[in-house]
């Protein structure tokens, strides 16, 4: 077993354990912080996969923005946080069963992917993945349309979210 495999296994275990804690912990703020740990683990995976841009963006966007938003939301709706009742539905075992079923189904499907046991070739010589990504995102024969549509989507989300949560000055 190589060092890289050990690092992967440790990270994977960290991700899965903290993900389990996200869905089971009673205190919602702790759940949000465990989510941060799980997301950080995913960033480590991206780094192992040599997707350096995605690794840092994962931290900037997920931990720096999305997790902060979650924490704010938890604090704004705090009364529920210390709810003494159960945090799961009475029929949680159905959910567990479904989750396990999907998990086994996915594993069966994914192991059938051709070349599932392959190890990656080295990155092409002189390939700057960040530069290539930027090139792909803005060149018309690649992904410029999804790129612009993403910004429109975010604009729509901003307008919708601000409208829904609206607490500003009533005009």
């Amino acid at each position: 077993m190589t060092a890289e495999q050990i690092i992967f296994l440790l990270t994977g275990a960290l991700i899965l354990v903290s993900a389990l804690l996200v869905v089971t912990v009673r205190n919602l703020l702790h759940a949000a912080l465990w989510l941060v740990v799980a997301l950080f683990g995913v960033a480590v995976l991206y780094a192992i996969l040599q997707a350096s841009f995605l690794a840092v963006v994962q931290v900037v966007v997920y931990i720096g923005a999305i997790a902060i938003l979650f924490i704010f939301a938890v604090m704004l709706t705090r009364r529920e946080m210390r709810d003494t009742g159960p945090q799961t539905r009475p029929n949680w075992w159905i959910a567990a069963l479904l989750g396990a079923l999907v998990l086994t189904g996915l594993i069966v499907i994914m192991l059938a992917v051709p070349g599932a046991d392959r190890t990656p070739a080295a990155l092409p010589e002189g390939l700057d993945t960040v530069w290539a990504l930027g090139n792909a995102l803005v060149s018309p024969e690649a992904y410029v349309l999804p790129f612009e549509v993403a910004s429109v989507l975010l604009l729509a989300a901003l307008v919708g979210a601000v409208y829904v949560a609206g607490v500003g000055k009533k005009s």
Binding site: A3, L29, H30, L33, V36, S52, F53, A55, V56, V57, V59, V60, I63, G64, A65, A67, I68, I71, F72, M75, D128, V130
Partner: protein, 402 residues
């Protein structure tokens, strides 16, 4: 390769050779060499941090017409060590209702988020941790961890003032992150690189502060807000929030919040130097005539001096400006800095693309004057706005006197 031209690689090669000579595997030897290098770098940063405590106290004393520490050792130089001993032997009080685990993690995370910046800080062209090709985003990412540390500390203390301070601080930090990220894009465009070494090397001939002075100013303002220093120091609003998010912290845990704030300020001084003021280099081509300027030790000295200067500017602002109210602060960001920085980015990108074909000095002149025009237009818009506001106030005034 000799020690004076390339000290890090020289020592690293020597150590690797030594370790592999003892029969260690090459991979393990590399990891060990990394660990040694990292430990030395972090210890250097920590020693510098201790020095910064002294600098900060001396400088604030001079600003306030006092002497500052002068009893312990010559010029009070031993004072910070006395401070540390005091902090370590002080009783560490944890509030009874605190969320203990998060309460203990927060100061460590705050310190780590600042220390992590040193991994990419280029002290010289040959003395640096690592030259990431996404270094600028790494800078933003560590800021995200710092934000998280503040909200964890504020929440876990189980104190309304701490939580309120954390909320304000986080609202402040995340808001000012936007103009900061936008101004980080400007050196990226100008240097065509996101790595700190690439950006510094691109400024060999001319600093980016000349090509984009407005960008440098916006970066400095948003960096100060990101640091949470005065005039944006809502964490330390003693009169209204007792002391902000760290009010319940005592002993060394408080010490880490304090130490990381100082080191953060210095590090941001360093990054301002890297991004806009030529970093370790930027001698305007002088190094061709005087080759000794590219010696790594000279470069490191230049870098530290520039970072200290940036740190001094941050202190200068801190100790001469009053605190800004939170609504003013957020309005200043969202209604002024964000639109301005976005306009600046659009103009810089367009002009850079058009003017790059011109000879160097025409290009530089064009970029500089585009900034001047933006500043002039901004001032005109603000003046117009102010005039309207005054008029509205004057129309209301007679009724108010009744």
């Amino acid at each position: 390769m000799n020690f004076w031209n390339d000290p890090i690689n020289f020592i690293a090669n020597w150590l690797t050779g030594l370790l592999t000579g003892w029969g260690l595997a090459a991979g393990l030897a590399t990891v060990l060499v990394y660990l040694v290098g990292i430990t030395v770098l972090i210890v250097f940063a920590m020693l510098l941090d201790i020095g910064l405590v002294w600098v900060e106290r001396k400088v604030v004393a001079r600003f306030q017409d006092r002497l500052g520490p002068n009893r312990v050792g010559p010029f009070g130089l031993i004072q910070p060590f006395a401070d540390i001993i005091k902090l370590v032997i002080k009783e560490d009080i944890t509030p009874a209702n605190a969320d203990k685990v998060i309460y203990n993690i927060a100061p460590v995370l705050a310190a780590t988020s600042v220390i992590a910046l040193w991994a990419i800080l280029p002290l010289s062209s040959r003395i640096f941790g690592v030259d990431l090709n996404v270094a600028l985003l790494y800078l933003v990412a560590t800021g995200a961890l710092g934000t998280l540390a503040i909200i964890m500390g504020g929440w876990a203390s189980n104190n309304k003032y701490a939580l309120l301070g954390a909320f304000r601080m986080v609202a402040n930090m995340v808001s000012y992150e936007i103009p900061m990220v936008v101004t980080l894009l400007i050196p990226t465009i100008l240097a065509d690189s996101m790595s700190v070494i690439g950006i510094t090397e691109a400024q060999r001939g001319l600093w980016f502060a000349v090509l984009s002075p407005l960008g440098a100013v916006i970066f400095l303002i948003s960096a100060i807000a990101e640091l949470g220093r005065s005039p944006f120091d809502l964490t330390e609003a003693e009169s209204e929030l007792t002391a902000g998010f760290n009010v319940e912290y005592s002993g060394m845990k408080f010490g880490w919040f304090y130490a990381s704030e100082l080191l953060h300020a210095f590090t941001f001084g360093g990054f301002a130097a890297v991004l806009f003021f030529g970093g370790y280099g930027g001698f305007f081509g002088l190094e061709k005539a005087l080759p000794w300027l590219t010696n790594p030790f000279i470069e490191a000295a230049v870098f530290i001096a520039k970072a200290m200067l940036g740190y001094w500017v941050i202190m200068w602002l801190k100790y001469s400006m009053p605190r800004v109210r939170i609504d003013h602060m957020l309005a200043f960001n969202w209604k002024f800095l964000v639109p301005l920085s976005l306009v600046l980015l659009a103009v810089t990108a367009t002009l850079h693309k058009i003017l790059i074909v011109l000879p160097g000095w025409q290009y530089a002149l064009g970029m500089f004057f585009s900034n001047v025009v933006i500043v002039a237009a901004t001032i005109e818009v603000l003046r117009d706005y102010g005039r309207k506001q005054r008029k509205a106030a004057e129309e209301l005034a007679p009724q108010a006197q009744l």
